[in-house]
């Protein structure tokens, strides 16, 4: 076994600089710059059509950008054809060659590299061991389950020890349970190989689970790059706040550098910028049930409209009693309460008037889009 640091040294740093790709008037990528550290697990996260897959394809060489540079290490590889880039790639539908066995699929990149027979069979064995598929080498692709196919695709992508591993929504075809298992396993595999990995997904939870850092992309623009916690706790705009995690956005006004919801002043955990329209990002699990007498800063008196049992938690949908003038619909918030035995007594019933509060530390606002 090679030590982490050793491989990390071999891994490549990727630098994307000013990459733009247009289709007619449409900007698939708009001046994207992004540095990916050697050995890092970076996720490109965004809704469909955001440009995340386009960026991955630029890295793989299947899409030529209109402008910009892509460095693998110190080499600008924008003009290099895909087959010379030496990246391992896992496709969304796995793209396993149906006319070859598992073994032949995994051996394919080694054969292209004119390895000897022994080197090939040894490499294939190692790769299949790594993805826990030892013994299935002779199977036809058609005989494999979805999860097994996913593993073969992975084995094939790493068997030639590429310096960069690209994955395009590799888990999207799996059912939830398997997907969650594979998330952990992929992450573990990455830690063992310490290969620079770029992972594309539209599943924010998956991104949070697996990534060293997340790059949120929307409309071809890099919105935010940061650690999962940063992205979750401090989204830089309303889109990210809405996209990452569960949240309800309440409109707030900033006047005289003070955020207000209706007439109530909202205390937030950060400096407030210029006056104008903002939204308060409310995470359901951060809301606290408080008594009317509580002194918690951001309090919202409300009525329980629905109470939904969700296993480990209870989801309450509450209607705020406060309405701003001119609003037609009352505001609603989602409140999540853990289903612990301690909580079972306090969970309110539908129709109860209650009060929920958001601690200052959990309160932040972002500019209205």
């Amino acid at each position: 076994m090679v030590s982490h640091s050793e491989i990390k040294e071999q891994a490549l740093r990727i630098s994307i600089q000013g990459v733009t790709k247009t289709y007619g008037d449409f900007f698939a990528l708009n001046n994207v710059s992004l540095d990916i550290e050697a050995g890092e697990f970076l996720t490109l996260l965004g809704p469909s059509g955001s440009g995340k897959t386009t960026l991955l394809m630029v890295l793989a060489g299947f899409i030529r950008p209109n402008q910009g540079q892509v460095f693998f290490g110190s080499e600008d590889i924008v003009l290099k054809p895909p087959h010379l880039r030496g990246v391992g790639m896992v496709f969304q539908n796995y793209a396993l060659f149906p006319h070859m066995s598992v073994e032949q699929n995994v051996a394919y990149p080694l054969k292209l590299r004119r390895k000897t027979k022994d080197e090939i069979s040894q490499g294939v064995q190692e790769a299949l061991d790594t993805v826990k598929l030892a013994g299935l080498g002779n199977r036809k692709i058609g005989q494999l389950s979805g999860g097994q196919r996913q593993r073969v695709a992975l084995a094939r992508a790493i068997v030639f020890k590429p310096k960069v591993l690209l994955m395009d929504e590799p888990l999207s075809a799996l059912d939830k349970k398997l997907r969650e298992e594979m998330q952990i396993e992929l992450r573990r595999l990455h830690d063992n190989l310490a290969i620079t990995t770029v992972y594309v997904t539209h599943d924010q939870k998956e991104a949070l689970t697996m990534s060293d850092r997340i790059a949120v992309i929307n409309h071809g623009i890099l919105n935010q790059l940061g650690l999962p916690q940063e992205i979750y706790s401090n989204p830089t705009n309303a889109f990210i706040a809405d996209f990452i995690g569960e949240s309800t956005l309440l409109p707030v006004e900033v006047r005289d550098s003070t955020p207000r919801f209706g007439e109530s002043i909202i205390s937030v955990n950060h400096d407030v910028g210029s006056d104008g329209s903002y939204v308060l990002v409310v995470r359901p699990e951060k809301l606290l049930l408080v008594t009317d007498e509580s002194t918690a800063p951001n309090r919202f008196p409300c009525t329980v409209e629905e109470s939904i049992f969700q296993g480990e938690s209870q989801l309450l949908i509450v209607r705020l009693d406060t309405m701003k003038s001119g609003d037609k619909e009352p505001y609603r918030l989602n409140v999540r309460i853990a289903n612990t035995s301690a909580n079972s007594a306090v969970i309110p019933q539908v129709g109860d008037s209650i009060c929920v509060a958001l601690e200052k530390v959990d309160s932040f606002i972002v500019k209205q889009e």
Partner: protein, 296 residues
Amino acid sequence: MTAIVVNEINIKSLRQQETKERLVMIGLTIPYLLIVILLIIVPIGWLFGTSFVDQDGSFTFKHYVRLVESKAYYRIFITTFEISIFTTLICILIGYPLTYFISQLPRRFANLCMIAVLIPFWTSLLVRTYAWLVLLQRKGLLNNFGIELGLLSEPLPLMHNMTGTLIGMVHIMLPFLILPLYANMRAIDTDYLKAASSMGANQLRAFWTIFFPLSVPGLLAGSLIVFVICLGFYVTPAVLGGGKVIMVSMKIQSNIELFFSWGAASALGVVLLVMTIAILYIASKFVSLDQMSSRG
């Protein structure tokens, strides 16, 4: 106990319903079965029967004996197979690259191309064959053009021979190769090629190791269709072969004139039919026959 009785009643009526549904499904095939029996089984049976009947109505093997004894039939079968094989090979050489090209186009353009491929289907076979006559004859467009441009010093013998027959047959058979092949190629995920190239295969390598093997079923199916249809071809060799390229189907026709009876022609027809079925049978060991008709 009551519950069990109710269950038994349900079993019976459920089974009846199932039988009814099955009968309806079988009923759907009746028109087709009638057509097959009336238009295929009965005529073939009759054909088979007449091949053993002498002019005076008595039973005879003489029509088959003639096929074995006369060198003419041997030569005609050789010619027929030669033409069918060459036509198939040329169709592959021309059709494969073309189909590959079309299959790589964006769908809209590809559809336009496929319509262009199919347009000849809407024109009568005879008209198309005569069009080749105008193009290929000694003082036809091609030869005149070649001579005027100084490319040819004298007209090339492009028709009334094997060359002309092959040109005409390839033109007519090409769509039969392209259609199943195109369906097959379209179904090949482009990600396979991307995957291959991400692993280090250049385009040529990716084509030969991935795309080509995956297109083989379509290619085999198309080739088989072309070959088998060629075996029974009549119009094109009759018009473009100049009476010197004689295929089995033409001999069947001339046997009717020659012997004034069905017997001699039927025997030849039976032999051609048996050979065709044998070829299809052998081929079915290698190609799945569904592939021949499937579009995807």
